[in-house]
């Protein structure tokens, strides 16, 4: 089954929020969409699961019963207990009775909430809430799991556990699409899509994206910002020369994934 977006565009009033984006969601693969705030990440995943209409192009997805969706906001009921939340999600997808009990137990054990089933959703920490929301989306073993900024604002321990849960889901065959603003998270994916102002400016495996970096990257260890396309990194500056010729005083540097992402954004800005 081939799912994803094909040349999809979304318009809000006169504003083009998504501009002819194509993206494939393949089974057993984690695809991460990286972009800044306002880049269109949420719009992209919402178009994928069917929450917004496309004005152009196609969105291919399995039937509702096979989709799991975790929105950027809570995604769970703060005035229901952990158990009740799972029961509600389960019943919506037809997972009830002993099936629900088994699957809930399995997921709760995995996310470390098996001792807290009577706690209200609102009493859980941010990280635990997010883990529960993901568990709710996994009860019915969806074939497509879509997560919108699953780890923004989540503490590092919960984030690590969330990614293990997501990886396990992909390992079991699910197609996973997640959005993030963290470049290092995109590094975990097998496929990455860089989104900038509603457009996909680069796509492929992290290695592909790094090797596709044009020009030359250098480090300048001065206090003042060097001229040209540069950005702060730690106590030094990184400078990028599209022509391949680094200016005086710049030490050449092998581009890492984060550099590649920033350069791709700069390339895109120059074009526009």
């Amino acid at each position: 089954m081939r799912w994803g977006l094909e040349n999809a565009s979304v318009k809000f009033g006169s504003r083009l929020a998504l501009d002819r984006v194509s993206l494939a969601a393949e089974p057993s693969t984690i695809r991460v969409v990286v972009g800044g705030d306002g880049a269109g990440k949420s719009t992209l995943v919402r178009a994928l699961v069917g929450l917004v209409r496309l004005c152009q192009g196609d969105a291919l997805r399995p039937p509702k019963r096979q989709i799991g969706y975790v929105p950027a906001s809570a995604g769970l009921y703060v005035d229901l207990t952990v158990k009740e939340n799972l029961a509600f999600s389960g019943s919506a997808y037809g997972v009830v009775g002993s099936q629900l009990a088994e699957r809930s137990a399995e997921l709760l054990e995995r996310i470390g909430l098996n001792d807290a089933t009577e706690r209200l959703g609102g009493q859980l920490s941010g990280g635990m809430q997010r883990k529960l929301a993901v568990a709710m989306a996994l009860l019915h073993r969806p074939s497509l799991l879509v997560l919108d900024e699953p780890t923004t604002g989540v503490d590092p321990l919960s984030r690590a556990e969330l990614w293990r849960l997501i990886s396990a889901t992909a390992a079991a065959g699910t197609a996973v699409v997640a959005t993030t603003t963290y470049v290092e998270e995109a590094h975990r994916a097998s496929k990455v899509t860089l989104l900038e102002q509603g457009r996909s400016i680069a796509t492929g495996s992290p290695r592909d994206i790094v090797s596709a970096v044009p020009g030359a990257l250098g480090v300048v260890r001065s206090k003042a910002q060097p001229g040209g396309l540069s950005w702060r990194w730690g106590t030094a500056w990184r400078i990028w020369a599209p022509s391949g010729e680094l200016p005086e005083g710049a030490e050449p540097l092998q581009a890492g994934f984060e550099d590649a992402v920033i350069i791709a954004a700069l390339v895109d800005q120059e074009k526009v």
């Binding site: 318009k11 809000f12 306002g38 917004v52 496309l54 004005c55 969105a59 809570a74 995604g75 703060v78």
Partner: protein, 361 residues
């Protein structure tokens, strides 16, 4: 501290809903208390029957407004008119006695009439002419108890609160928590979600209604003279209107604060202008039309009519039809808007994206 004051004003300037309330509410209250809040009634529809009808009718002046004279009819005609609400006072002549029947559900009309009659008798005595002996009977609410009038009205108020305010809060809470998005992605049909949200409030409101009626009857002795089925029908239709209003409010509110503001603006005029407290008949014409637009006005008539007067459905069917019409319009609109939140992409293709209210990125 000055900085705080300036900041507060700046924020207020941009908060349109609060500004609207600041301006609209005082104007509303002014209009109401200026033109609508009157306890004295200017015209009291009266019918006169019996052999001396024409003569008696001739003597009746304002506030009595003679709307019918029938020399051949008797008490039963008067009673049915009073029950139907087409007249508030009925005068039965014949046999040397003048019997004045009054509709006890129109408290202020009755008081005004009693005062007017006393005045007329005084004037007659003063001018030396003989005053006929009057016998007054008050029907439906013989002791002119205020509680008997208020409690049926209260039933409407409860339905209004639960239907509008509480329902909209419940739905907006979901929108605020961001879970409406998920409901849209789950395999629910929009109808499942809408009814799932409305039905609990419908049941709660019905329960509350029965409790209030029971308490009214047991504690205050309010009668239930009429047909329970008619009352239930009226209540259901009115409830559908208020629930529709609640859902509609929730579709234009992003948070509970906003929905409360809107709900207040919808509920407060109804409390004051629907005849719950101030009789509609004494409102100035320029303001009275508002009462006819408010659903609560119709339900209060139905509620009081059925409980106190045993009004038959033949007299109430117009109100029931109006309520039905309101319910269809409001619910229809509400469901249409709510559906947009729940099923935005039912079609693909070259259709401009319709954005759900809460979805602005």
């Amino acid at each position: 501290m000055w900085a705080m004051i300036v900041k507060e004003f700046r924020q207020l300037r941009r908060d349109r809903r609060t500004l609207a309330m600041l301006i609209v509410l005082p104007v509303l209250l002014l209009v109401i208390f200026g033109y609508a809040a009157r306890f004295d009634v200017a015209r009291i529809p009266t019918i006169v029957v019996g052999p001396g009808a024409a003569q008696v009718a001739g003597h009746l002046q304002a506030p009595f407004q003679v709307v019918g004279i029938d020399p051949d009819a008797g008490r039963s005609l008067v009673e049915s008119h009073l029950r139907d609400g087409t007249a508030v006072i009925g005068v039965v002549t014949g046999g040397g006695l003048v019997l004045v029947l009054m509709d006890g559900t129109q408290l202020f009309s009755v008081e005004t009439a009693q005062a007017a009659l006393a005045h007329m008798t005084q004037a007659a005595k003063a001018s030396g002419s003989s005053a006929p002996s009057l016998s007054v009977q008050i029907l439906f609410n013989p002791h002119l108890k205020t509680s008997w009038i208020m409690i049926p009205g209260l039933t409407g108020l409860i339905l209004l609160f639960i239907g509008t305010l509480i329902t909209s809060l419940g739905i907006v809470r979901e929108r605020q928590a961001g879970t409406i998005e998920q409901l849209a992605v789950m395999p629910f049909r929009p109808w499942d979600v809408i009814f799932g949200k409305i039905v609990p409030y419908l049941l709660l409101a019905s329960l509350d209604l029965m409790v209030i009626v029971a308490v009214g009857m047991l504690l205050f002795g309010v009668p239930f003279a009429g047909n329970v089925a008619v009352f239930a029908l009226g209540a259901l239709l009115f409830l559908l209107v208020t629930l529709g209003m609640g859902v509609l409010i929730s579709t234009v509110s992003q948070n509970q604060g906003q929905s409360i503001q809107l709900a207040i603006m919808f509920v407060v005029p109804q409390i004051l202008l629907s005849g719950l407290i101030f009789p509609i008949s004494s409102m100035a014409l320029g303001v009275r039309w508002i009462a006819y637009v408010l659903p609560l006005s119709y339900f209060i008539d139905i509620s009081r009519g059925v409980m106190l007067k045993n009004m038959p459905i033949a007299a109430l069917w117009q109100w029931l039809v109006i309520l039905t019409g309101m319910a269809v319009v409001v619910l229809g609109l509400a469901v249409l808007r709510f559906r947009r939140d729940l099923a935005p992409s039912t079609r693909r293709g070259r259709v401009p994206a319709v954005l759900a209210d809460s979805a602005a990125p």
